[in-house]
Subunit: 273 residues, 2 copies
């Protein structure tokens, strides 16, 4: 373990990260903070959209792996961490009305309503940590880039008002690492699980691998195979595409840091795809 | 289950297959006989080569997954089946002296010696059955061809007198099936386990995918990825390459049919690679 933050003398615990957000001391990315702990994407919706979104997650477990769902109006999520306040414990949020971004606050207490349901979804930080621990190289991290993300021709299974294309992340790997990465991520269904594609990008509607829709381009060497995982951007893109009257998400890279250990995620056997 | 043999009114049990060999009624391939049961490759060597070969298998578990090893001079293998006589219960054998084929008998009783040690190694029949049960298509079977096999630039880890290149089988698959096949075969380390390569054949020294060293050519479509598994031909090629004074193997396709169910193979957790 090394120091993740110049201001800190030791790695933060998840609780310390949440308190730093709550106190207004942490307003930036959470990547690398509280190493070893699960971080999650946040989607907050009014109860009258919540059933549709829950069903959407159930029908699309690879892009939308649910870690926890709150009771309506509750801002705690005891299964993910004690002393956890969803209104203040992320560094930054995005508030949306009818699909338009209206604010990027560091707290959503002013926007809180008794009918809001919070969904926390697994993210690829956890499986990238598992890959690195197994000596599988993660190229965009080596290059200090953001992972490249692409809209695809793969349709999600729609539910109520929610529908849209699947977004994927791409990681180039040599064949040996491809096989290992499939083995490892198959054991981690709560953080996107096994890849959904590998090889020819055109087969899933990606016309130019050097031009991602989000994130940074990462080159694919001649001895590498591009490997594609379902991406947590999918639910956000689908939600915003459906223009619900009100929605709150985390700001990009500003995740909820939970008390779950990444190593706990592989304790359950993986369903095959 | 369907009838595997025109002479039979129902699928044979493993014991019935062994008895049919022993009685001289079965002299051909065992593929498809006693469906659901594990079949194995046979290598028989004098005791003074046996330690080297055992060590070679231990160091190369993917091409040489050991199912059972006999005591010197013993022709039974109770762990693989009751009433099993290694000297007569395979349809046909090959007898080698100093790397030269000298006989292809249906029984090796005339060649038996008190110093012979028998090795039974897993074969890909078992994992192909697991793939088909999961609706992963196995193209050479659909085309009614033998699986294509290639010598590679991948070196096995040598042990004593035994060394040589790894031989692989190739199965073309669409990306979705590649991912499933890696998941499924990772659970079956006793029958070669996960693939050892996928994608560009040149990276493992295969210059022309349409010209296998053994078996039949199988075309790779533009939406397919060639996937390569370590092959049970490896130990035979390595043994014969080392020219031991005496050796007996099964004849190609004429396997030992055991009492193990293929489904029993995945009962143990798979080591990663």
């Amino acid at each position: 373990m090394h120091y993740q933050n110049a201001q800190l003398r030791r790695p933060m615990t998840p609780h310390e990260v949440r308190l730093a957000c709550r106190d207004g001391d942490l307003k930036g990315h959470t990547n690398g903070l509280a190493p070893g702990y699960v971080q999650g994407n946040l989607v907050v919706l009014p109860r009258n959209c919540a059933f549709d979104f829950l069903l959407f997650c159930h029908r699309n477990p690879k892009p939308c792996p649910l870690l926890a769902v709150s009771e309506a109006g509750r801002w705690d999520l005891p299964s993910l961490g004690l002393d956890l306040d969803l209104r203040s414990d992320l560094p930054r949020y995005r508030v949306w009305k009818h699909g338009e971004l209206i604010d990027e606050p560091t707290s959503i207490e002013a926007y809180w309503r008794d009918d809001l349901v919070s969904f926390v979804l697994g993210c690829s930080f956890s499986f990238e940590e598992a890959l690195l621990e197994a000596n599988v190289s993660v190229k965009h991290q080596s290059l200090e880039l953001n992972v490249p993300m692409f809209k695809t021709s793969i349709k999600t299974v729609s539910a109520g008002i929610f529908s849209g294309p699947m977004v994927v992340t791409m990681r180039p790997m040599r064949a040996h690492d491809v096989i290992r990465a499939i083995q490892i991520t198959s054991q981690l269904p709560q953080v996107h699980g096994a890849p959904i594609h590998l090889g020819d990008p055109a087969l899933i509607g990606i016309s130019d691998i050097s031009k991602p829709d989000y994130g940074d381009p990462v080159p694919v060497a001649t001895d590498e195979v591009p490997v594609f995982w379902a991406c947590g951007v999918t639910p956000q893109a689908v939600v915003l595409n459906s223009k619900p009257p009100f929605c709150i998400t985390h700001a990009p890279g500003c995740m909820l840091v939970s008390d779950w250990l990444n190593r706990e995620l592989s304790a359950e056997p993986a369903p095959l795809l």
